[in-house]
């Protein structure tokens, strides 16, 4: 690992309790040997398992109706077709396999929407390691199907009741477990967040997204895309979709955050009713890294909000924060309403029910059709089955343009 991959500009680093540092050094060593240098054929095995178990490579599909609607070429990178229904397996499989190569005997992970938890549970079952998932109580109630899936794959699901019971608290609680059981346990972190080497390593496992998309785009359109759009919470699908395009200066990279219900912060209540840390956050230190955060003037972390639990986080990956500061990645955001409308629109127009996270990327396109280049790739980071209950509930609360009344068939 090069020095630039511990720090991304001023961001990144390793702000963790001392008890974890030896494990982080051990992980850094394993990352360098197995991932970067393919020792013992690790990356070959990873690629083969991604193909056989995960279903890669995945298509870059021309979205005919969106192309017509925006009068441009829109292509969808179909990560929703990865086993489990989201891009998350790329990283989970990579890390669980790495844990196995490192001789670890137990897997733990946090999850927000449950997509990383289900991916980790699948990977752990596939590779035969016991697994425990920490999930905020509020998210458990928002994402019941994913809880069942994790249990079915043989994982324990530990509810986290501190704070507001979402991803932030789940990460803190998983770090506490890791600090207690660090000698035999690997913490499969679910995004490009946390102490080095996690941000770089998680990016590398997801970089297969842009590696495939870049080649497919050249084959199918004869060139590189003008625009790549991905939603951004912690930022794992985002960096996976961007990684191989960062050097392509003519390709604009757009990270779409959750604008939630408002971009304004209620400091008295300690709440930022959004998850737009790239767009509105300040530099600070959380969960092992210096990055952009939603925090009050004292440095206390604010409670974030998004209609999509996978984006509902007060921080963001340090590399993404750096790329935004450098002007290489454009930070954008759309609110809950726009994301929900986009969810319905994509489902109806293209026959693809996207995750609510993913819907934010489509919401941005709808609001900014003039910003799209001749060829745009959107990363369809996951499918929306897990969100159906909350989409029905949230749609009933609003007047969503073009939304079907799903409830009517039951009446």
């Amino acid at each position: 690992m090069t020095a630039t991959d511990v720090k991304f500009g001023e961001y990144g680093g390793q702000y963790v309790p001392e008890a974890l540092m030896p494990a982080i050094e051990e992980l850094t060593d394993a990352y360098e040997r197995y991932v970067l240098e393919n020792e013992d054929g690790f990356m070959d095995e990873f690629r083969q398992r991604l193909r056989d178990f995960g279903g890669r490579p995945l298509p870059l599909q021309r979205a005919d109706h969106l192309s017509e609607r925006y009068d441009t070429e829109v292509y969808l990178k179909r990560e929703d077709l990865l086993h489990g229904g989201a891009h998350k397996l790329n990283n989970a499989l990579g890390q669980v396999l790495l844990a196995k190569y490192m001789g670890k005997e137990r897997i733990i992970a946090e999850t927000g929407a449950g997509q990383h938890g289900t991916a980790t549970a699948m990977a752990a079952a596939h590779l035969g390691l016991p697994c425990e998932i920490y999930m905020g109580e509020r998210d458990i109630n928002r994402q019941r199907p994913n809880v069942f899936r994790m249990k079915l794959n043989g994982s324990e699901v530990n509810p986290v009741t501190t704070g507001r019971g979402t991803l932030k608290e789940a990460i803190s609680e998983t770090m506490r477990d890791w600090a207690t059981n660090v000698e035999d346990t690997h913490y499969v972190i679910g995004s490009i967040v946390g102490p080095a080497p996690f941000p770089a390593m998680v990016r590398d496992f997801h970089a297969v997204i842009s590696e495939e998309a870049r080649e497919q785009c050249k084959e199918q359109t004869g060139g590189l895309p003008d625009t790549v759009v991905a939603c951004a919470g912690g930022g794992s699908n985002t960096m996976g979709a961007f990684a191989n395009f960062v050097e392509d200066a003519d390709t604009e990279l757009v990270a779409v955050e959750a604008g939630g219900s408002s971009l304004d912060v209620d400091e008295a209540a300690g709440v930022a009713p959004n998850s737009a840390s790239l767009s509105t956050g300040d530099e600070g230190v959380l969960h092992g890294a210096r990055t952009k955060l939603l925090q009050d003037g004292d440095g206390q972390i604010l409670e974030s909000h998004s209609i999509s639990s996978g984006l509902d986080y007060a921080g963001v990956g340090p590399e993404l924060a750096h790329l935004v500061d450098e002007g290489r990645v454009r930070a954008a955001n759309v609110d809950d309403d726009a994301a929900l409308a986009a969810f319905h629109r994509l489902s109806r127009l293209e026959g693809i029910i996207p995750a609510l996270e993913t819907a934010h990327a489509f919401g941005w396109m709808e609001e900014n059709p003039d910003e799209l280049g001749d060829v745009t790739i959107v990363n369809v980071s996951g499918r929306g089955d897990k969100d159906l209950e909350s989409v029905i509930e949230e749609t009933e609360k609003r007047d969503v343009e073009g939304a079907v009344d799903v409830g009517e068939v039951f009446r």
């Binding site: 702000y15 963790v16 001392e18 506490r176 969960h287 440095g299 972390i301």
Partner: protein, 288 residues
């Protein structure tokens, strides 16, 4: 490396006792009484927690203290007022997380926080999420203002890592008695003896914390070679019980004072033991 005389002196006796409470738990006024009770009970140094919203190194006892204190309106600025209002003569060490130190004041970095702490007579810092690798700017600011920076050494810390930490530590080294997070336990970890023997070649005082709950634990830890004992959760438990039962503040303060006394006496008893037998004491304290 700049050293704060106050911490050196506090560890000059037979065995130092270092209690921890979260400032402002459960209220500003009650907390002042509680911290002052620690001094009356025999504390040699007091670790005063400035609560952070994401205390990743804390177990449930201190997590709940953090919530009570934050809900009571504690902020870094209030914390400094609190320190100013406290009527204690023993050295105070601020225990907090790096983001609060980093964000304080107008200038970027830890300097304004350290400057303010120094102006109020604080003696040093413990920052559980700041390993030696990231501590450069805080160490520099502490040197500038003559404050100590205490580092935590975990049971997993050895070799080059241990050297890197011991190169930067001042005041005392916080020997983490067991893996995991803070919280009172019913036994003394047998990892403590091994940790202490790894540290033998360094002169800096060694204070053991994480999981210590009784005078007997304190005795065993000091008998195993520690220069001091740190206790947090077992004291925070008393604050929490008092809060839940709506006990008068004076009564809870009295309980804190007598618990502090018990722990300090335990530490002193350990220091008085025949050095020949000190290596074995830990095994004897294991629960049966």
């Amino acid at each position: 490396m700049a050293e704060n005389e106050a911490l050196n002196e506090a560890f000059a006796g037979d065995a130092a006792f270092v209690p921890y409470l979260a400032a402002g738990d459960p209220s500003y006024e009650a907390s002042l009484e509680y911290v002052e009770a620690l001094e009356r009970g025999g504390a040699d140094v007091i670790e005063l927690g400035l609560p952070f919203s994401e205390p990743i190194a804390e177990g449930s006892t201190i997590q709940e203290a953090v919530v009570r204190s934050l809900e009571g309106g504690m902020t870094p600025e209030r914390f400094f007022e609190f320190v100013d209002d406290l009527d204690v003569d023993v050295p105070l060490v601020c225990m907090t997380y790096y983001n609060l130190i980093y964000q304080y004041g107008d200038d970027e970095g830890p300097r304004p926080f350290v400057e303010k702490a120094a102006s109020l007579g604080l003696s040093g810092f413990v920052v559980p999420d700041l390993p030696a690798e990231e501590a450069g700017p805080l160490r520099e600011a502490c040197d500038e203002f003559g404050l100590d920076l205490v580092f935590i050494v975990a049971p997993t810390t050895a070799g080059d890592r241990l050297k890197r930490i011991m190169d930067q530590v001042s005041g005392y080294v916080y020997v983490q008695a067991r893996l995991g997070v803070t919280g009172a336990k019913d036994d003394v970890s047998d990892q403590t003896g091994a940790s202490l023997s790894r540290l033998r070649e360094w002169d800096v005082p060694k204070a053991v914390g994480f999981g210590i709950k009784t005078g007997e634990h304190a005795r065993a830890v000091v008998a195993a070679g520690a220069d001091g004992v740190i206790v947090g959760s077992a004291l925070v438990d008393i604050v929490a019980e008092g809060h839940e039962a709506d006990t008068p503040v004076a009564e809870t303060a009295e309980r804190l004072e007598s618990k502090t006394h018990e722990l300090k006496q335990g530490a002193l008893a350990g220091a008085g033991e025949d050095p020949e037998s000190r290596g074995e004491s830990l095994a004897e304290s294991e629960p049966t």
